[in-house]
Protein backbone atom coordinates (compact mmCIF):
# COMPACT_ATOMS: atom_id res chain seq x y z
CA UNK A 1 0.00 0.00 0.00
CA UNK A 2 1.48 3.31 -1.03
CA UNK A 3 0.07 5.25 1.93
CA UNK A 4 1.95 3.17 4.48
CA UNK A 5 5.26 2.65 2.69
CA UNK A 6 7.33 5.15 4.66
CA UNK A 7 8.70 4.06 8.05
CA UNK A 8 7.73 5.94 11.24
CA UNK A 9 9.61 9.19 11.65
CA UNK A 10 10.00 10.24 15.25
CA UNK A 11 10.85 13.86 14.47
CA UNK A 12 7.54 14.58 12.87
CA UNK A 13 4.46 14.33 15.07
CA UNK A 14 2.08 15.17 12.28
CA UNK A 15 2.97 11.91 10.56
CA UNK A 16 1.32 9.56 13.10
CA UNK A 17 -1.94 11.49 12.82
CA UNK A 18 -1.93 11.61 9.03
CA UNK A 19 -0.92 7.96 8.65
CA UNK A 20 -3.46 6.94 11.27
CA UNK A 21 -6.20 8.83 9.46
CA UNK A 22 -5.26 7.37 6.10
CA UNK A 23 -5.49 3.88 7.62
CA UNK A 24 -8.77 4.66 9.39
CA UNK A 25 -10.94 6.03 6.59
CA UNK A 26 -12.11 2.68 5.18
CA UNK A 27 -13.24 1.71 8.68
CA UNK A 28 -15.15 4.98 9.07
CA UNK A 29 -16.81 4.50 5.70
CA UNK A 30 -18.01 1.12 6.87
CA UNK A 31 -19.13 2.30 10.31
CA UNK A 32 -21.29 5.19 9.09
CA UNK A 33 -24.17 3.15 7.58
CA UNK A 34 -24.06 0.62 10.42
CA UNK A 35 -23.99 3.36 13.06
CA UNK A 36 -26.92 5.16 11.41
CA UNK A 37 -28.87 1.91 11.18
CA UNK A 38 -28.12 1.16 14.83
CA UNK A 39 -29.28 4.63 15.90
CA UNK A 40 -32.52 4.33 13.96
CA UNK A 41 -33.24 0.89 15.37
CA UNK A 42 -32.42 1.92 18.93
CA UNK A 43 -34.61 5.00 18.71
CA UNK A 44 -37.49 2.87 17.42
CA UNK A 45 -36.96 0.57 20.41
CA UNK A 46 -37.55 3.54 22.69
CA UNK A 47 -33.95 4.27 23.57
CA UNK A 48 -33.10 7.93 24.04
CA UNK A 49 -30.32 9.42 21.84
CA UNK A 50 -28.35 10.21 24.99
CA UNK A 51 -28.54 6.53 25.94
CA UNK A 52 -27.51 5.64 22.39
CA UNK A 53 -24.50 7.91 22.74
CA UNK A 54 -23.66 6.46 26.14
CA UNK A 55 -23.82 2.94 24.71
CA UNK A 56 -21.69 3.77 21.67
CA UNK A 57 -19.09 5.41 23.93
CA UNK A 58 -18.99 2.81 26.71
CA UNK A 59 -19.48 -0.37 24.68
CA UNK A 60 -18.20 0.45 21.16
CA UNK A 61 -18.97 -2.98 19.71
CA UNK A 62 -21.46 -2.96 16.87
CA UNK A 63 -23.05 -6.39 16.77
CA UNK A 64 -23.52 -6.62 20.53
CA UNK A 65 -25.18 -3.19 20.54
CA UNK A 66 -27.70 -4.35 17.91
CA UNK A 67 -28.40 -7.49 19.93
CA UNK A 68 -28.77 -5.52 23.18
CA UNK A 69 -31.29 -3.14 21.60
CA UNK A 70 -33.42 -5.96 20.25
CA UNK A 71 -33.26 -7.73 23.62
CA UNK A 72 -34.23 -4.50 25.44
CA UNK A 73 -37.21 -4.04 23.13
CA UNK A 74 -38.45 -7.55 23.94
CA UNK A 75 -38.13 -6.85 27.66
CA UNK A 76 -35.15 -9.10 28.38
CA UNK A 77 -33.51 -8.85 31.78
CA UNK A 78 -30.36 -6.78 32.34
CA UNK A 79 -28.26 -9.77 33.38
CA UNK A 80 -29.11 -11.84 30.31
CA UNK A 81 -28.29 -8.89 28.01
CA UNK A 82 -24.93 -8.41 29.73
CA UNK A 83 -24.07 -12.13 29.55
CA UNK A 84 -24.99 -12.19 25.85
CA UNK A 85 -22.78 -9.14 25.25
CA UNK A 86 -19.90 -10.88 27.01
CA UNK A 87 -20.30 -13.96 24.81
CA UNK A 88 -20.56 -11.94 21.59
CA UNK A 89 -17.49 -9.83 22.41
CA UNK A 90 -15.27 -12.60 23.75
CA UNK A 91 -13.57 -12.76 20.34
CA UNK A 92 -11.72 -9.54 21.25
CA UNK A 93 -9.76 -11.67 23.74
CA UNK A 94 -8.08 -13.35 20.77
CA UNK A 95 -7.55 -10.07 18.94
CA UNK A 96 -5.93 -8.31 21.91
CA UNK A 97 -3.74 -11.37 22.52
CA UNK A 98 -2.60 -11.25 18.93
CA UNK A 99 -1.88 -7.51 19.12
CA UNK A 100 -0.04 -7.82 22.46
CA UNK A 101 2.94 -9.39 20.66
CA UNK A 102 3.72 -5.99 19.11
CA UNK A 103 3.15 -3.83 22.18
CA UNK A 104 6.00 -4.61 24.57
CA UNK A 105 7.48 -1.14 24.95
CA UNK A 106 4.74 1.00 26.35
CA UNK A 107 2.96 2.13 29.49
CA UNK A 108 -0.04 0.46 31.08
CA UNK A 109 -2.00 3.68 30.69
CA UNK A 110 -1.52 3.76 26.95
CA UNK A 111 -2.30 0.05 26.65
CA UNK A 112 -5.50 0.56 28.62
CA UNK A 113 -6.50 3.36 26.27
CA UNK A 114 -5.64 1.23 23.25
CA UNK A 115 -7.67 -1.71 24.62
CA UNK A 116 -10.81 0.43 24.54
CA UNK A 117 -10.66 0.73 20.75
CA UNK A 118 -9.99 -2.90 19.79
CA UNK A 119 -12.75 -3.86 17.33
CA UNK A 120 -12.80 -6.41 14.49
CA UNK A 121 -11.95 -3.66 12.04
CA UNK A 122 -9.31 -1.69 13.98
CA UNK A 123 -7.67 -4.98 14.99
CA UNK A 124 -7.36 -6.09 11.37
CA UNK A 125 -6.04 -2.76 10.12
CA UNK A 126 -3.57 -2.28 12.98
CA UNK A 127 -2.34 -5.89 13.04
CA UNK A 128 -1.62 -5.82 9.31
CA UNK A 129 0.54 -2.73 9.73
CA UNK A 130 2.24 -3.81 12.98
CA UNK A 131 3.27 -7.05 11.33
CA UNK A 132 4.95 -5.10 8.52
CA UNK A 133 7.05 -3.25 11.12
CA UNK A 134 5.92 0.17 9.97
CA UNK A 135 3.35 0.95 12.62
CA UNK A 136 3.41 2.46 16.10
CA UNK A 137 1.03 2.56 19.05
CA UNK A 138 0.36 6.26 18.39
CA UNK A 139 -0.76 5.51 14.84
CA UNK A 140 -2.87 2.62 16.10
CA UNK A 141 -4.49 4.91 18.67
CA UNK A 142 -5.37 7.41 15.93
CA UNK A 143 -7.01 4.57 13.97
CA UNK A 144 -8.98 3.37 17.02
CA UNK A 145 -10.24 6.78 18.03
CA UNK A 146 -11.08 8.01 14.55
CA UNK A 147 -13.18 4.89 14.06
CA UNK A 148 -14.66 5.40 17.53
CA UNK A 149 -15.73 8.96 16.68
CA UNK A 150 -17.30 7.83 13.39
CA UNK A 151 -19.25 5.16 15.30
CA UNK A 152 -20.47 7.46 18.06
CA UNK A 153 -21.45 10.34 15.75
CA UNK A 154 -23.24 8.17 13.18
CA UNK A 155 -25.21 6.24 15.81
CA UNK A 156 -26.34 9.44 17.53
CA UNK A 157 -27.34 11.01 14.19
CA UNK A 158 -29.30 7.84 13.41
CA UNK A 159 -30.97 8.10 16.81
CA UNK A 160 -32.03 11.70 16.34
CA UNK A 161 -33.13 11.73 12.77
CA UNK A 162 -33.74 8.40 11.16
CA UNK A 163 -31.66 7.53 8.15
CA UNK A 164 -29.94 10.27 6.18
CA UNK A 165 -28.37 7.89 3.74
CA UNK A 166 -30.90 5.99 1.67
CA UNK A 167 -30.57 2.29 2.38
CA UNK A 168 -28.11 0.60 0.06
CA UNK A 169 -26.91 3.85 -1.49
CA UNK A 170 -23.51 3.64 -3.22
CA UNK A 171 -23.12 0.04 -2.07
CA UNK A 172 -21.97 1.41 1.27
CA UNK A 173 -23.35 -1.66 3.06
CA UNK A 174 -20.53 -3.61 1.40
CA UNK A 175 -17.71 -1.36 2.65
CA UNK A 176 -16.70 -3.51 5.62
CA UNK A 177 -17.01 -6.77 3.66
CA UNK A 178 -14.70 -5.42 0.94
CA UNK A 179 -12.31 -4.20 3.63
CA UNK A 180 -12.20 -7.65 5.25
CA UNK A 181 -11.53 -9.27 1.87
CA UNK A 182 -8.45 -7.09 1.36
CA UNK A 183 -7.26 -7.43 4.97
CA UNK A 184 -7.59 -11.21 4.72
CA UNK A 185 -5.38 -11.18 1.63
CA UNK A 186 -2.76 -9.18 3.56
CA UNK A 187 -2.77 -11.94 6.19
CA UNK A 188 -2.17 -14.74 3.66
CA UNK A 189 1.62 -14.53 4.00
CA UNK A 190 2.35 -18.17 3.21
CA UNK A 191 0.79 -21.59 2.76
CA UNK A 192 0.11 -22.16 6.47
CA UNK A 193 -1.87 -18.91 6.65
CA UNK A 194 -3.91 -19.93 3.60
CA UNK A 195 -4.68 -23.32 5.13
CA UNK A 196 -5.66 -21.61 8.40
CA UNK A 197 -8.02 -19.24 6.58
CA UNK A 198 -9.63 -22.06 4.59
CA UNK A 199 -10.20 -24.22 7.66
CA UNK A 200 -11.47 -21.28 9.74
CA UNK A 201 -13.83 -20.14 6.97
CA UNK A 202 -15.33 -23.55 6.28
CA UNK A 203 -15.70 -24.43 9.97
CA UNK A 204 -17.21 -20.99 10.67
CA UNK A 205 -19.82 -21.47 7.94
CA UNK A 206 -20.76 -24.92 9.24
CA UNK A 207 -20.90 -23.79 12.88
CA UNK A 208 -22.86 -20.64 12.01
CA UNK A 209 -25.53 -22.87 10.46
CA UNK A 210 -25.86 -25.20 13.42
CA UNK A 211 -25.29 -23.08 16.53
CA UNK A 212 -27.17 -19.85 17.20
CA UNK A 213 -25.33 -16.64 18.07
CA UNK A 214 -21.82 -15.62 17.08
CA UNK A 215 -19.68 -18.08 19.04
CA UNK A 216 -18.77 -19.68 15.70
CA UNK A 217 -16.16 -16.94 15.17
CA UNK A 218 -14.10 -17.78 18.26
CA UNK A 219 -14.59 -21.55 17.98
CA UNK A 220 -13.63 -21.72 14.29
CA UNK A 221 -10.61 -19.43 14.78
CA UNK A 222 -9.20 -21.39 17.73
CA UNK A 223 -9.83 -24.69 15.95
CA UNK A 224 -8.12 -23.55 12.72
CA UNK A 225 -5.09 -21.94 14.37
CA UNK A 226 -4.57 -24.93 16.69
CA UNK A 227 -4.96 -27.48 13.89
CA UNK A 228 -2.52 -25.69 11.59
CA UNK A 229 0.02 -25.17 14.38
CA UNK A 230 -0.25 -28.91 15.07
CA UNK A 231 0.30 -29.73 11.39
CA UNK A 232 3.24 -27.34 11.24
CA UNK A 233 4.96 -28.82 14.31
CA UNK A 234 4.34 -32.35 13.03
CA UNK A 235 5.74 -31.58 9.57
CA UNK A 236 8.82 -29.78 10.91
CA UNK A 237 9.64 -32.41 13.51
Amino acid sequence: MSDSASPPNKHDFKTPILQGLSAAWPICLGYIPIGLAFGVLAQKAGIHPIEIMLMSILVFAGSSQFIAVSMLSTGAGAVSIIITTFAVNLRHLLMSSSLAVFLGNTTRKKLSLFAYGVTDESFAVNHTRFSRNNWSLDRALVVNHTANIAWIVSSVIGGYSGQFIHEGAFGIDYALTAMFICLLIFQLKGRFYVITAVIAGVVAVILSLIIPGSSYIVLASIFAATTVLGIKKWLLR
Binding site: E51, L54, L58, A100, V101, S112, A178, F180, A197, P212
Partner: protein
Protein backbone atom coordinates in the same frame (compact mmCIF):
# COMPACT_ATOMS: atom_id res chain seq x y z
CA UNK B 1 -43.01 8.58 20.15
CA UNK B 2 -39.68 9.74 21.44
CA UNK B 3 -38.95 8.78 25.00
CA UNK B 4 -37.59 11.76 26.88
CA UNK B 5 -36.49 10.20 30.15
CA UNK B 6 -33.34 8.20 30.72
CA UNK B 7 -34.26 4.74 31.98
CA UNK B 8 -32.35 3.53 34.96
CA UNK B 9 -32.38 -0.06 33.69
CA UNK B 10 -30.92 0.95 30.32
CA UNK B 11 -28.08 2.80 32.03
CA UNK B 12 -27.24 -0.24 34.17
CA UNK B 13 -27.35 -2.46 31.09
CA UNK B 14 -24.99 -0.11 29.26
CA UNK B 15 -22.55 0.03 32.20
CA UNK B 16 -22.57 -3.77 32.46
CA UNK B 17 -22.11 -4.18 28.71
CA UNK B 18 -19.23 -1.69 28.77
CA UNK B 19 -17.47 -3.60 31.53
CA UNK B 20 -17.80 -7.08 30.00
CA UNK B 21 -16.70 -5.73 26.61
CA UNK B 22 -13.70 -3.81 27.92
CA UNK B 23 -12.19 -6.54 30.10
CA UNK B 24 -11.57 -9.08 27.26
CA UNK B 25 -10.03 -6.26 25.21
CA UNK B 26 -7.79 -5.13 28.07
CA UNK B 27 -6.76 -8.30 29.90
CA UNK B 28 -4.59 -9.97 27.19
CA UNK B 29 -2.76 -6.70 26.50
CA UNK B 30 -1.85 -6.42 30.20
CA UNK B 31 -1.03 -10.10 30.57
CA UNK B 32 0.90 -10.80 27.38
CA UNK B 33 2.55 -7.62 26.14
CA UNK B 34 5.34 -7.29 28.71
CA UNK B 35 6.72 -10.81 28.78
CA UNK B 36 8.54 -13.21 26.54
CA UNK B 37 5.96 -15.60 25.20
CA UNK B 38 6.81 -19.20 24.34
CA UNK B 39 7.53 -19.71 20.65
CA UNK B 40 4.47 -21.92 20.07
CA UNK B 41 2.16 -19.23 21.47
CA UNK B 42 3.70 -16.53 19.25
CA UNK B 43 3.21 -18.80 16.21
CA UNK B 44 -0.35 -19.62 17.27
CA UNK B 45 -1.22 -15.95 17.77
CA UNK B 46 0.33 -15.17 14.38
CA UNK B 47 -2.21 -17.50 12.74
CA UNK B 48 -5.17 -15.96 14.59
CA UNK B 49 -5.74 -12.90 12.33
CA UNK B 50 -6.05 -15.00 9.15
CA UNK B 51 -8.39 -17.34 11.05
CA UNK B 52 -10.59 -14.60 12.54
CA UNK B 53 -10.88 -12.60 9.32
CA UNK B 54 -11.88 -15.69 7.40
CA UNK B 55 -14.32 -16.77 10.13
CA UNK B 56 -15.91 -13.30 10.10
CA UNK B 57 -16.02 -13.02 6.33
CA UNK B 58 -17.07 -16.37 4.85
CA UNK B 59 -20.37 -16.82 6.72
CA UNK B 60 -21.37 -13.30 5.61
CA UNK B 61 -20.78 -14.29 1.99
CA UNK B 62 -22.55 -17.65 1.83
CA UNK B 63 -25.24 -17.56 4.51
CA UNK B 64 -28.07 -15.25 5.48
CA UNK B 65 -31.08 -14.90 7.75
CA UNK B 66 -31.84 -15.66 11.39
CA UNK B 67 -31.28 -18.55 11.98
CA UNK B 68 -28.64 -18.68 9.27
CA UNK B 69 -29.10 -20.79 6.17
CA UNK B 70 -26.95 -21.31 3.07
CA UNK B 71 -27.52 -18.74 0.33
CA UNK B 72 -25.12 -19.00 -2.59
CA UNK B 73 -27.15 -16.83 -4.99
CA UNK B 74 -26.63 -13.53 -3.23
CA UNK B 75 -24.63 -10.52 -4.46
CA UNK B 76 -22.48 -10.65 -1.28
CA UNK B 77 -20.77 -13.78 -2.65
CA UNK B 78 -20.59 -12.92 -6.36
CA UNK B 79 -19.29 -9.40 -5.77
CA UNK B 80 -16.66 -10.87 -3.44
CA UNK B 81 -14.95 -12.75 -6.30
CA UNK B 82 -13.92 -9.74 -8.47
CA UNK B 83 -13.25 -7.75 -5.26
CA UNK B 84 -10.92 -10.53 -4.09
CA UNK B 85 -9.06 -10.52 -7.41
CA UNK B 86 -8.77 -6.73 -7.37
CA UNK B 87 -7.37 -6.82 -3.81
CA UNK B 88 -4.93 -9.59 -4.75
CA UNK B 89 -3.62 -7.65 -7.75
CA UNK B 90 -3.49 -4.14 -6.29
CA UNK B 91 -2.98 -4.75 -2.52
CA UNK B 92 -4.82 -1.47 -2.05
CA UNK B 93 -7.21 -1.34 0.93
CA UNK B 94 -8.89 1.91 -0.06
CA UNK B 95 -9.20 0.86 -3.69
CA UNK B 96 -10.70 -2.48 -2.71
CA UNK B 97 -13.32 -0.81 -0.51
CA UNK B 98 -14.33 1.57 -3.32
CA UNK B 99 -14.41 -1.18 -5.99
CA UNK B 100 -16.33 -3.53 -3.70
CA UNK B 101 -18.93 -0.86 -2.95
CA UNK B 102 -19.31 0.06 -6.62
CA UNK B 103 -19.74 -3.56 -7.72
CA UNK B 104 -22.21 -4.26 -4.91
CA UNK B 105 -24.21 -1.17 -5.83
CA UNK B 106 -24.23 -2.30 -9.45
CA UNK B 107 -25.24 -5.84 -8.50
CA UNK B 108 -28.09 -4.59 -6.34
CA UNK B 109 -29.43 -2.28 -9.03
CA UNK B 110 -29.41 -5.15 -11.56
CA UNK B 111 -31.24 -7.57 -9.26
Amino acid sequence: MAVTIIHQKVVWVILGMGLVTYVPRWFPLMLLSRRNLPQWLVEWLDLIPAAILSALLLPELVTKGMPRHMSLWQPELWVALPTFIFALKTKSLGGTVVIGMALFWLAQSII
